[in-house]
Amino acid sequence: MHVDWAQFTPWAALAGGILIGLASIAFALLLGRIAGISGILAGLLRPQKSDLGWRIAFVGGLLAAPFIYSLADTLPALQIDTSLPLLVAAGLLVGLGTRYGSGCTSGHGVCGLSRFSSRSLVATLTFMAAGFNTVFLLRHVFS
């Protein structure tokens, strides 16, 4: 293993992480809920009138973030090299997996670990391990 110092952005990462943490605790302290993005999205698929509004509002906030950011600074360009079939496969796996596992990087990785939940620790270690192995296979075995 060698660290890619040219790509490593520790201060931006910490600052962004703090914003994500603040958003997560604001959601809990103000609305009494876990800001788990996969769960919020999945709730849109079985709409119950009572909670459809805040789900749509939250997703609207996520969607609006690039525009609001662009008012202050140039939006960083994304690099997406994944082929169309792999994007579809990735989406299906993430959709299925986050439902079976009751959460994703936000719900388990940020909120759950912040609450010292043992389920979230197991979930996070599991999806990290699966992610490490998938990238290893893609980049170093089948490349």
Partner: protein
């Protein structure tokens, strides 16, 4: 009021993802590529978020109602089960394929990347498949054998 709060929190979350660089799949894959040129940034994003989160959830966990008077719906501790691990494996495999997890993908969709649109649409299909499978499973469980 609740809608405005929810929108603002989603916005703050999205801005955090952009500032941290985690909206960019290349950066996430750089973290997941332990055997290549490794970019540790994601670990620091999580460290920053959890440091703040631990303080906030320590307060939130002791409350019966939120600051806006809503009931606290934080999940109770449950045992680890096979579904949790299987779900984590599927999710992690998909995460490693494209470098997208749900939050960054929605933000990238907002930035206008069609690839994020394909990913989000497929993810919603995956979630819908789960809903249908669960409903069929529940129906089967109800039938007398």
């Amino acid at each position: 009021m609740y809608l405005l709060v929810s929108f603002a929190v989603g916005l703050l979350f999205g801005l955090g993802l952009i500032v941290s660089g985690m909206e960019n799949p290349a950066k996430v894959l750089g973290f997941l590529d332990l055997a290549g040129a490794w970019d540790p940034s994601l670990a620091l994003v999580m460290a920053g978020a959890i440091a703040v989160g631990a303080l906030g959830f320590a307060v939130a966990g002791r409350r019966a109602r939120s600051w806006l008077g809503l009931p606290m719906r934080l999940p109770a501790e449950r045992p680890v089960d096979r579904r949790l691990v299987a779900g984590g494996l599927l999710f992690g495999a998909g995460w490693g394929l494209a470098g997208f997890c749900p939050g960054p993908a929605v933000v990238a969709l907002g930035a206008g990347y069609w690839q994020a649109g394909v990913f989000v649409a497929s993810m919603l299909v995956g979630m819908a498949v789960y809903e249908v499978a669960e409903r069929l499973g529940a129906r089967r469980a109800l039938k007398p054998s």
